[in-house]
C-alpha cells in the first residue's frame, strides 16, 4: 500500500518528520518498507498484514498514525449533493444471496461528461501506482484508496431491463471481464446481474459490456459489502486478484458503505458534472453492530508480564478509535467499531494495547518453569555419528530438494514403494517426491563435473518419501547415500594419480557401519543387481539378516544418461533400519592374554573366483584352537602364476591364554590350516 503524506494529512495532523513517522508506524505494527520522495510528494510504502484490511486505505492508515503519534484525527464528512428523481423509477435493485452480500447500495448519476481526470487526481493515483483512465473510473479508484471501499461504476445505458440483481450463478457460464478475458463463472460464484445476465463478478471485476466509456452519459454507482470468503474462493479459482477482491477478502466496514457511495457521488459530480438521483438504494437486511468485549487489567498483565493500569489501557484503546469504558476492579468494557473486524476477542484487544504501549517497553526475562530433562528425536545421536564418520572419510555433505524428475528417478525406482506425486509442481523436473537420494546426488555430480570439478566425494542424509499402499499418510524414512567419482586423493603429492574404485565406496560404507558399531554383524552379498548398478561390481549390504542398502558402481548406461563419462561409485543405506540395529550392539569385554603370540605368514594360490571371505571362513572354521587372528595382507596376480589364479598372502596369529606356545604346536596348527585350505578350496601353498 502506497501512501502519499499530503493525502494522509487531509485525515490526520502530522507533526513529526517522515522518518520518525515511519519508525513509529513500523514499531506499531504497520511496517513502512520505504519512504521515497517523488517531486514534492513524500510517499510511504506500507506492508499491510492480512488481518488489517482496514489499513488498505488512507483513512485507515490515518487512524494508525493518530494512535502511534498521539495526533488528532481530522473528521471528514461527505454528503452526496442534492439530486433529482427516485432510484426506484430508474432501476430495480434486489439482493438474492443475503449471506454473501451483506449490504448493497447504489445511486445513479445522469448527464456525466466522461473525460480526462483533473491533474491533482491523476497525480495522486499515479503516486499510488494506479493508472488514470477517465474522470469517472478514476473517481471510484480514488475513493477506494481513500476509504478502503471498493466501488464499481456501470454504464447505466448498458444495464438491460432496468434491473440489478445480486445473486449466485446457478450453472457454469462464460463472462467477459473488463480486462477483455473470457472467464467461466461457476455455480456458487456471486454475480451482479441485470435483466439478462451477469454484468460484474461481484467484488472482483466488472464486465466489459457495461464498462464506462467516452460515450457514457449516465452511470450507476455501486458501493457494497460482500462476504470475504466467497470473494476469495472465486478470485482464487479465476486466478483474478484485484484491488477490489483484496479488500473484500480482508473485510470492509458494512457501516461505512453508504458514506463511500456519497463520497463517490460528490467526487463524480465535482469532476464530471451530472445530476445524481435524489435518493439511493440501500439494502442492508441484517445490520452489523459493534462487538462488545470485556477486558481486565489482570488479563493484560498475565499475557504481557507487565502491569499496565486500566486507565492507560483505556486511553490506548480510545486512541485507536475504540470506545473503552472503565468499570470497577480494573475492568474495561470495549465497543469495537465495525471497521476493525479483526478485533473479536479480548486477546485481540491485548495485542492492540501491547503494540501501542510498545513491545520495546516490555523487559525480557527468564521464564520460570518446572525443570524437566530434555528429549531428542529418536536416532538423533546416530545421525550425528554417521555424518561425522562420513565427513571423516572425506565425504562432503550436500542438501537436495525433496522433489525430483519422475523420469530421472525411474532407473532408481526398482520394485520399492511408489513415489508421491505433486499435483501442482513448479516444473516437470520437480514433479514427484524422491524415493532415493541417488538422482539428486547425480545432479550435484553433473553440475560439478560441468564446472571442471572431476574429483568428487559427496553424501546426502535426508528424507525420502514413499507413497502408502492404501489411503493414509506417506512414509518418510531417512536415507544416507554417497557418490564417489574421480581420483582417490587428488591433493596428495604421492598418490594423486590413483583412481577411486569399488573398494573406496565399500570403505565409506564400512565407516558408516562402524560409526554405529555394526561392522561385526554386517556382510556384503551378491544377489539380484538393481537395474542402476554394474552387475559385476555391486553388493547388497546386510546387517544381521536385514538388507539395509547397496553399494557399487553405477551402471555405465545410467552414468552416461547423466552425461558422466566416468566410473561413478555410489551407495545408499536405509538409515532407520541401521539405526535400529545400532541400539542392540553393546560391546562385551574379554580378558587380555598375558602370554606372547606367535605370527606365521603363508601364501596360497587359489582360483580367481574364490572370494576372500571364503578363504577367511575356511581358516576360521579349520578347528585350530590356537588360532587368534587372520589377516590377509596381499593379493597377487600375474607373472609366475597361471591364468585365472591368484596368490593370497595371509598372516596367522596363534596364542593361548594360559601359557606360551611351543614350536611344535605352532607348526602342527599351521599344517592343519594349510591342509584344510587345500582340501576345501584346492589351494596350493606358495613357497
Amino acid at each position: 500500500m502506497r501512501v502519499p503524506l499530503e493525502w494522509l494529512k487531509e485525515f490526520v495532523e502530522i507533526r513529526v518528520k517522515p522518518e520518525r513517522l515511519a519508525h513509529l508506524l513500523t514499531m506499531g505494527g504497520i511496517e513502512v518498507e520505504s519512504v521515497e520522495s517523488l517531486g514534492r510528494e513524500t510517499i510511504m510504502e506500507l506492508g499491510i498484514t492480512p488481518n488489517r484490511g482496514d489499513c488498505l486505505s488512507i483513512a485507515g492508515v490515518a487512524r494508525e498514525v493518530a494512535a502511534v503519534t498521539g495526533a488528532r484525527l481530522k473528521p471528514r464528512k461527505f454528503a452526496a449533493p442534492r439530486g433529482e428523481g427516485r432510484m426506484a423509477d430508474r432501476v430495480k435493485v434486489s439482493v438474492k444471496s443475503r449471506s454473501r452480500c451483506i449490504r448493497y447500495t447504489a445511486r445513479a448519476i445522469e448527464g456525466v461528461k466522461v473525460g480526462p481526470s483533473p491533474s491533482w487526481m491523476a497525480a495522486r493515483l499515479a503516486a499510488c501506482g494506479i493508472r488514470s483512465i477517465n474522470n469517472v473510473v478514476d473517481a471510484s479508484n480514488y475513493v477506494m484508496l481513500e476509504t478502503g471501499h471498493p466501488l464499481h461504476v456501470f454504464d447505466m445505458a448498458r444495464i438491460r431491463g432496468s434491473r440489478i440483481e445480486v445473486s449466485l450463478v446457478e450453472s457454469a457460464r462464460q463472462f467477459t471481464t473488463l480486462d477483455g478475458v473470457v472467464r467461466t463463472l461457476e455455480k456458487g460464484d456471486l454475480a451482479i446481474c441485470d435483466g439478462e445476465g451477469p454484468v460484474a463478478v461481484a467484488g472482483i471485476m466488472g464486465g466489459g459490456d457495461s464498462e464506462v466509456s467516452q460515450s457514457t452519459t449516465s452511470v450507476l454507482l455501486e458501493s457494497a459489502c460482500f462476504e470475504g470468503k466467497g470473494i476469495r474462493r472465486t478470485s482464487r479459482r479465476l486466478g483474478l486478484a484485484s484491488e477490489s477482491s483484496r479488500r473484500f477478502e480482508r473485510g470492509v466496514d458494512p457501516n461505512s458503505v453508504l458514506a463511500a457511495l456519497n463520497r463517490l457521488t460528490e467526487l463524480i459530480v465535482d469532476t464530471a458534472e451530472g445530476t445524481p438521483a435524489a435518493d439511493c438504494v440501500d439494502i442492508y437486511p441484517a445490520k452489523i453492530a459493534p462487538a462488545r468485549l470485556a477486558l481486565t487489567e489482570d488479563a493484560v498483565e498475565r499475557m504481557l508480564g507487565e502491569n499496565i493500569p486500566a486507565a492507560s489501557i483505556a486511553k490506548i484503546l480510545t486512541r485507536l478509535g475504540l470506545d473503552a469504558k472503565r468499570g470497577a476492579k480494573g475492568r474495561i468494557s470495549v465497543s469495537v467499531p465495525t471497521f476493525r473486524p479483526d478485533i473479536s476477542r479480548p486477546v485481540d484487544l491485548i495485542e492492540e494495547v501491547a503494540r501501542i504501549y510498545g513491545y520495546d517497553r516490555l523487559e525480557g526475562k527468564t521464564p520460570l518453569v518446572c525443570m524437566s530433562p530434555i528429549v531428542r528425536p529418536r536416532f538423533m545421536d546416530q545421525e550425528q555419528a554417521i555424518c561425522e564418520a562420513l565427513a571423516g572419510a572425506g565425504m562432503s555433505e550436500v542438501v537436495l530438494y525433496g522433489f525430483v524428475d519422475d523420469r530421472a528417478q525411474a532407473p532408481f525406482a526398482g520394485l520399492g514403494p511408489a513415489a508421491v506425486k505433486i499435483a501442482n509442481p513448479l516444473s516437470q523436473d520437480q514433479g514427484v517426491m524422491c524415493t532415493s537420494l541417488l538422482p539428486g546426488l547425480m545432479d550435484a555430480a553433473r553440475l560439478n563435473v560441468n564446472r571442471q570439478r572431476t574429483d568428487l566425494k559427496l553424501f546426502a542424509f535426508q528424507h525420502i518419501y514413499h507413497r502408502p499402499a492404501g489411503a493414509g499418510p506417506s512414509d518418510e524414512p531417512r536415507s544416507v547415500a554417497g557418490l564417489l567419482l574421480g581420483r582417490r586423493d587428488p591433493s596428495s603429492w604421492e598418490r594423486s594419480r590413483e583412481q577411486l574404485d569399488f573398494y573406496d565406496a565399500k570403505g565409506v560404507v564400512d565407516a558408516v557401519l562402524d560409526s554405529l558399531g555394526l561392522v561385526q554383524i554386517s556382510v556384503y552379498q551378491r544377489g539380484e543387481p538393481p537395474a542402476f548398478l554394474h552387475p559385476g561390481r555391486f553388493a547388497h549390504v546386510l546387517c544381521g539378516n536385514t538388507r539395509v542398502g547397496v553399494v557399487g558402481q553405477l551402471h555405465p548406461d545410467v552414468a552416461v544418461k547423466w552425461g558422466l563419462e566416468h566410473e561413478v561409485f555410489v551407495f545408499e543405506l536405509h538409515f532407520d533400519l541401521i539405526a535400529e540395529k545400532a541400539q542392540a550392539v553393546v560391546p562385551r569385554f574379554s580378558e587380555l592374554s598375558r602370554f606372547p603370540f606367535v605370527q606365521r605368514d603363508i601364501a596360497i594360490v587359489v582360483d580367481e573366483r574364490i572370494p576372500l571371505v571364503e578363504v577367511e571362513k575356511t581358516i576360521q572354521e579349520s578347528g585350530v584352537e590356537l588360532l587368534d587372528g587372520v589377516n590377509i595382507f596381499d593379493i597377487y596376480r600375474g607373472k609366475g602364476l597361471a591364468e585365472g589364479r591368484k596368490s593370497i598372502a595371509i598372516s596367522l596369529r596363534f596364542s593361548r591364554e594360559d601359557r606360551t606356545l611351543t614350536d611344535d604346536e605352532v607348526v602342527a596348527a599351521q599344517q592343519k590350516i594349510v591342509s584344510e585350505l587345500s582340501r576345501t578350496l584346492k589351494a596350493e601353498l606358495r613357497e
Binding site: 514499531m27 505494527g29 518498507e33 520505504s34 498484514t49 492480512p50 484490511g53 470468503k229 476469495r232 480482508r250 498475565r302 499475557m303 504481557l304 508480564g305 491485548i350 501491547a354 503494540r355 513491545y359 520495546d360 523487559e363 525480557g364 526475562k365 521464564p367 520460570l368 518453569v369 524437566s372 530434555i374 528429549v375 531428542r376 528425536p377 555424518c387 562420513l390 571423516g392 572419510a393 572425506g394 565425504m395 562432503s396 555433505e397 550436500v398 542438501v399 530438494y401 506425486k421 505433486i422 501442482n424 509442481p425 513448479l426 517426491m433 560439478n448 564446472r451 570439478r453 568428487l456 535426508q462 518419501y465 507413497r467 502408502p468 489411503a471 499418510p473 506417506s474 586423493d489 603429492w493
Partner: protein, 342 residues
C-alpha cells in the same frame, strides 16, 4: 722391578691420555682401547707381570695399575659417548625434509552450511532446556492450516503458496504443524524446538521451493510476552554476538496473538543502512508471538491454566546473514566451490 713398573705405569698414563685427546672418531677410539685395554694391550701386560713381583710389592703396583686402568676406561667411555653423539648429530643434520609438503591424511569432508546452522540453532535452544521433536513433511490441511487458525478461504493463506500432493495431502508450508502434533501428544508443560524442511511454490534469489525452518514452543503456567522476549533475545545474542541490537515489533500470524517480528541490527553494515537491510539498519530474523487461544482450543489446552509462546525462523535466512551469502539457490546447487567455504 717395582720402581720400573711404577715408572712404566706413569709413562703409560701420560701417553694414553695424550693419545685419547687426539682421537678423531669412534674407530680410532676402539683402536686406542685395544692398544691399552685389549687382551694384548699395554695395561693388560703390566697386570700380567704383577705375578713377578714379591707379595709385598704387589699391592702398591696393583693399586696403581688399577687406578690407571679405571681412569683410562672412564675416559674412553666418555670419549666414545662424545664421539657417538657428534656422529649422530652429523648424520641427523644431513637428514633434511621439505617440511612444507602436506602431511598424509584423509582430507575431511565438509558439512553443508545449512546443517551446520541448524545444529548451531538447536544447540542454543537445547542449552536453554528445549527438547527437540520432528514432524512429517507431507501433511494434511488440518495440521498445516486449519488447526493453526487458518481455515479455508482465509486471506492468510496468501502468505504461503502451497504444493499439493495426491491423496488430499500437501507439503507443509512451515514447521508450525509440529506444534499441533506435539500438543496433541503431550500435555503442558512443553518446551521444545522442531527443525525441518518446508515447501512453498516460490523460486527466485530470495525464495527456494524447499527451505528449512526451526520452530519453537514453550507452554507453561505464567508464560508471558516478557518471557518470549527474554528467550529470543538470548537466542539472537548467542547466534549473532552479545553486542547485537535486537528489537521486537508487532506483526501478524494467524496462530499467535499478540504476534511479533524480531529484527537484529544489520550484521552487514552494523545498523547504518545498506542494500541487504534496505537502508533500514535492521534485519528480520524470526517471527513469534503468544500462542493464540484458537490453537489451544484445537488441542484442548486450558487457557485458564496455561499460556505460551511460539516462534519460527528460516535456517537459510540465518545462514545467509551469518555467512553473507547473497543467493538462496546456492544452498541447493551443491557446487563444491561453495560447499568448501564452510
Amino acid at each position: 722391578m717395582k720402581d720400573r713398573l711404577l715408572q712404566e705405569i706413569a709413562v703409560l698414563r701420560r701417553e694414553a691420555e695424550a693419545e685419547l685427546a687426539a682421537v678423531p672418531d669412534t674407530s680410532a677410539a676402539e683402536a686406542c682401547r685395544v692398544k691399552y685395554l685389549g687382551r694384548q694391550g699395554l695395561v693388560t701386560s703390566i697386570l700380567k707381570s704383577l705375578k713377578d713381583l714379591s707379595p709385598e710389592e704387589r699391592p702398591e703396583v696393583g693399586r696403581e695399575i688399577n687406578i690407571a686402568k679405571e681412569i683410562l676406561e672412564s675416559k674412553l667411555a666418555d670419549l666414545r659417548e662424545r664421539l657417538k653423539h657428534a656422529e649422530l648429530e652429523r648424520s641427523v643434520a644431513a637428514q633434511r625434509l621439505d617440511i612444507t609438503l602436506p602431511g598424509r591424511r584423509t582430507k575431511r569432508g565438509k558439512r553443508h552450511p545449512l546443517r551446520q546452522t541448524t545444529r548451531e540453532i538447536l544447540q542454543i535452544f537445547t542449552d536453554m532446556g528445549f527438547s527437540v521433536h520432528r514432524g512429517p513433511e507431507i501433511e494434511t490441511d488440518y495440521y498445516n492450516f486449519e488447526a493453526l487458525g487458518v481455515p479455508a478461504d482465509h486471506p492468510a493463506r496468501d502468505m504461503q503458496d502451497t504444493f499439493y500432493v495426491e491423496g488430499g495431502y500437501l507439503l507443509r508450508t512451515h514447521t508450525s504443524p509440529v506444534q499441533i502434533h506435539v500438543m496433541e501428544n503431550q500435555r503442558p508443560p512443553i518446551c521444545a524446538v522442531f527443525p525441518g524442511a518446508v515447501y512453498r511454490r516460490d523460486n527466485d534469489v530470495s525464495h527456494s521451493p524447499m527451505f528449512h525452518q526451526v520452530e519453537g514452543l514453550m507452554v507453561d503456567r505464567n508464560i508471558s510476552m516478557r518471557d518470549l522476549k527474554g528467550v529470543l533475545s538470548t537466542f539472537c545474542h548467542r547466534m549473532f554476538g552479545s553486542g547485537v541490537g535486537v528489537r521486537f515489533r508487532p506483526s501478524y500470524f494467524p496462530f499467535t496473538e499478540p504476534s511479533a517480528e524480531v529484527d537484529i541490527q544489520c550484521v552487514i553494515c552494523g545498523g547504518s543502512g545498506c542494500r541487504v537491510c534496505k537502508q533500514s539498519g535492521w534485519l528480520e530474523i524470526l517471527g513469534c508471538g503468544m500462542v493464540d487461544p484458537v490453537v489451544f482450543e484445537k488441542v484442548k489446552v486450558d487457557t485458564k491454566k496455561w499460556s505460551g509462546f511460539a516462534f519460527g525462523m528460516g535456517v537459510e535466512r540465518i545462514a545467509m546473514l551469518k555467512y553473507a551469502i547473497n543467493d538462496i539457490r546456492l544452498f541447493y546447487e551443491n557446487d563444491m566451490r561453495f560447499l568448501e567455504q564452510f
